[in-house]
Structures are given as structure tokens and as C-alpha cells.
């Protein structure tokens, strides 16, 4: 379970999952532009996104709602979504 929730760390991790799961060639997590449009420029579809979401769900132990997929159009937005969910979780745990 990752303890660091720094946004840059999450971006790197999301990029790594994206590369591993979707077998994206010739790109490193560090070289993955977090602002590139995953649909229009990488060509990922809803099944790809679902696969990545399941792996991220496991890793961060958070819920990723299917209805939120349309918002998750680049790596930065996914990372921000995860960060938000993690902070909601820690607030809930504190209460």
C-alpha cells in the first residue's frame, strides 16, 4: 500500500500503470505527458480505462465510480481524482 500521496508521485504511478496495463511502447512514466488527452491522443477506450481503474482501485484501496470515467481524460486528472478520494478517506477515518 503506498503511503506517499504527493500528487507528483501519484501521477508517476498512474503513468506506470497505464504503460504496463495497456502495453504502451517507447514511453517511460517520467516521459508520459500527464496532460495529454488519453482518448484523442493515446487512443484509449472505456475498456482500457476500466482496466486501469481496477488496478488503481486495488493499489489505493479507493472507489472509482464508473460515472466519473468521462472526467478522467488525462493522467493528471486521474491523479487528482485519486488524491481527492484519498483525502476523503482520511477525513472519514478521522471522524
Amino acid at each position: 500500500m503506498p503511503m506517499k500521496t504527493n500528487i507528483e508521485e501519484i501521477i508517476l504511478h498512474v503513468a506506470r500503470v497505464m504503460i504496463d496495463e495497456l502495453k504502451l511502447e517507447d514511453i517511460t512514466p517520467e516521459g508520459f505527458d500527464p496532460d495529454i488527452d488519453l482518448v484523442d491522443e493515446i487512443g484509449i477506450d472505456s475498456m482500457d480505462l476500466a482496466t486501469v481503474a481496477l488496478v488503481l482501485r486495488d493499489h489505493y484501496a479507493i472507489r472509482i465510480e464508473e460515472d466519473d470515467y468521462p472526467k478522467l481524460t488525462n493522467v493528471r486528472l486521474i491523479a487528482e481524482y485519486i488524491e481527492q478520494k484519498l483525502s476523503e478517506k482520511s477525513v472519514a477515518a478521522a471522524n
Binding site: 482518448v39 472505456s46 475498456m47 481496477l54 486495488d58
Partner: protein, 366 residues
């Protein structure tokens, strides 16, 4: 992780604790990872459908093609127009074409042009006129009951044997038996004949066209009988029947596909966000398409939609929500494995991972 939840597999309230499965734990089960890797190679498939002809050599009761206004589109028979359309489709990311009707076998040259541009696709036909062997798409041959029923409902004599003569031993061919409310018992006779000739068979469920007033529409009772017949035939002809227990649940549920899974075709999904709602088009014979009407079975009553082609897109797209526990995920994998074996040339169905019926996520089993 363990969590307290407010619903179980049957959707009823419960106070019990249920394990919350990680995806990696589900994939760790024997056979599941392998099947997952097998099917996910096909996640690149993005379909669109095309009406190849507005003519048909028979007239069936309950035909959805002759509902609505698509039947009035003029036929564009120009090979160059079709070639250009196919190239444009490829350029916008389409990887799979479904050639449909009225009757595509009446336009073989246009089907051939589509095949030359796209290696993957399928053709929906009534099977009375053979589609040339060089068009190497899956061919779905519609069967609506035994020959007496076909003579009555489709006005075609000796239909099954003519279909078999055209497609016996053809690896492209899948016979699609459509269960209506009044041909359920006949499936046993039809399946026996098809099995005897070594033919592959899958199942469809009659989904009424908008405004349909005939008696083919299902009731909860006939859906139950249909489910039982599907399960019986799955056991009786495992080498011929391309289906799974979860297919039976999804297509004979009292709720239609849209209510169960949320249909993502443009006709039901106004958004152009990621997925089918963004990429799918349904072209008429004049090569135009209309977003408001676009799905694989336009003019079907959405509330009654249990169509096999609709399910192939709608159920498979809902991978995420099936990944909550091993039984549901195995059922989903069986569904996808079935769908690929029916729609993709040279894809061979494996044994079902689950031999029992699972409830659709957040729903009861009926």
C-alpha cells in the same frame, strides 16, 4: 478488505459482511487470468454497422428493419462511395464492421468492398442466398423457429434446410435462434438438426420493435421458459452451442438490457464521452447516419431490448462493475468469450468458467 455492505448478489438488504475483492485476487484464481488475457487482446474492437440493402427476399413478422424510416433510405450502390466510407471509418478508429439489412446477401459486391478494407466483421443474413466464400466475415444466419413456424412467420418454405445447405461446414457460419414467445419448444428440434449437421448455434431473444402489437413479445413466463431451454441446450450440445449461463441470465431477465446495464449506444446515451456513445454509428443504405437513432437494432423498443447484438456491446462494456467478486467476473468473462466466438473469425470459445447462473451486478437473478 472486509466491508459492511447494504446489498448482496440478489440485491436484497442484508446485514452480513462480505469480502471486498481486489481485482488482483480475482485474477489470481486458476483459469481466470488466462481467460482474461485471452479476451483482453480484443479490447481494440470498435464497431459500427451498415445497412447494405433496403431489399429483402422475404418478409418476416416483427422485422425491425421495416419499422421506422431507415427502410426508405435510397440505396447507394456506388462501389467508390462505399470504399471511401470504409476508409473514412478506418481513419476515425473503427476496427470492426457489422453488415446488416435488410438483406446483405443481395449486395455481395458491396460486402466484398467492406471486407477488403476491414479484416474483421460480420454479416447478418437470413441465409437463403449464400454469401461468397471470399468474404471472410462471420455470418449470422437468423432462425426463428422450425420450418412450420418459418413458413408462417417468415413466409419461407423449408428454410432451415436451405440455410444448412448454404452454410454446412462453413467456419464463418453461426446460426442464431431467436426465441419468441411462441417458438420456445421448437428450439430442441432445430438444435438437434443443426447439431446433426455440425453447425454452430447461438441464441437471440425477440425484442419488440417500437409499437409492435403482435404476439411474439415475451412475458415473464416465456422469458423463464426461454432461460430453461437455453440452459438445457447448453448441456445437451456443448460442442455446438455458443452460449453461457450468464448469457442466459442477461438476455432472459425480466429487466431489459438497458435497465440492467445501461445501454451506451448513442440512441440511449446522449453524451459523446469516451466509449460506444462516441464511436458507434449506424449507416443507412444512403450512407447517412443519425445520432439520435444510432444503435445496432434501431427502432427496437428499448424497454424490451434483449437482443444478442445489443448485449454483445452493452454487457461487455460493463467490465468494471462485474469485477466485484470472482463468480460475477467469471460470468462476465464467459459472456465475453461467447461474444468473441460468435463475432470474430478464428476465435474459439473455451469451456465456460462458471456453470451456474450469476445475478447481474446490483440486481436479482430474474
Amino acid at each position: 478488505m472486509m466491508s459492511r455492505i447494504s446489498g448482496n448478489q440478489t440485491g436484497k438488504e442484508t446485514n452480513s459482511f462480505r469480502k471486498e475483492w481486489k481485482f488482483s485476487e480475482i485474477l489470481a484464481e486458476r483459469g481466470v487470468r488466462e481467460r482474461w488475457e485471452k479476451v483482453r487482446k480484443y479490447f481494440f474492437l470498435r464497431e459500427s454497422t451498415y445497412d447494405m440493402s433496403n431489399r429483402c427476399n422475404i418478409r418476416c413478422e416483427g422485422c425491425y428493419y421495416y419499422e421506422g424510416d431507415k427502410q426508405f433510405a435510397a440505396e447507394n450502390k456506388n462501389p467508390d462511395s462505399w470504399r471511401r466510407l470504409m476508409q473514412a471509418e478506418k481513419a476515425r478508429g473503427i476496427t470492426y464492421v457489422v453488415l446488416a439489412g435488410a438483406e446483405p446477401s443481395l449486395a455481395p459486391d458491396l460486402c466484398r468492398i467492406c471486407f477488403k478494407e476491414f479484416p474483421l466483421g460480420s454479416i447478418a443474413t437470413n441465409g437463403l442466398k449464400a454469401i461468397p466464400a471470399d468474404i471472410n466475415f462471420k455470418i449470422h444466419i437468423s432462425v426463428w423457429g422450425n420450418d412450420d413456424t418459418s413458413a408462417r412467420v417468415r413466409s419461407a418454405k423449408n428454410m432451415l434446410i436451405r440455410q444448412i445447405e448454404n452454410y454446412r461446414g462453413d467456419p464463418r457460419a453461426v446460426f442464431v435462434y431467436t426465441f419468441t414467445s411462441n417458438n420456445i419448444d421448437q428450439v430442441h428440434e432445430v438444435a438437434a438438426i443443426l447439431a446433426e449437421h455440425g453447425c454452430k448455434l447461438t441464441f437471440n431473444v425477440f425484442s419488440a420493435p417500437v409499437g409492435y402489437r403482435g404476439d411474439l413479445r415475451h412475458t415473464p413466463e416465456t422469458l423463464g421458459e426461454t432461460r430453461k431451454a437455453m440452459m438445457d441446450l447448453l448441456t445437451a450440445y456443448p460442442g455446438n452451442v455458443l452460449f453461457s449461463p450468464y448469457n442466459a441470465v442477461a438476455h432472459t431477465h425480466r429487466k431489459g438490457l438497458h435497465d440492467l446495464y445501461g445501454c451506451s449506444y448513442p440512441r440511449r446515451n446522449a453524451s459523446t464521452d469516451i466509449g460506444l456513445g462516441r464511436s458507434f454509428r449506424q449507416y443507412r443504405t444512403d450512407l447517412n447516419w443519425d445520432r439520435a437513432a444510432a444503435c445496432c437494432v434501431p427502432d427496437t423498443d428499448c424497454d424490451d431490448c434483449r437482443h444478442y447484438a445489443a448485449g454483445s456491446a452493452v454487457v461487455t462494456a460493463r467490465m468494471f462493475r462485474h469485477a466485484g467478486d470472482p463468480q460475477t467476473f467469471k460470468s462476465w468473462l464467459d459472456y465475453v468469450d461467447t461474444y468473441l466466438s460468435v463475432w470474430v473469425m478464428d476465435y474459439h470459445k473455451g469451456a465456460n468458467l462458471s456453470d451456474r447462473m450469476a445475478a447481474p451486478p446490483e440486481n436479482e437473478i430474474f
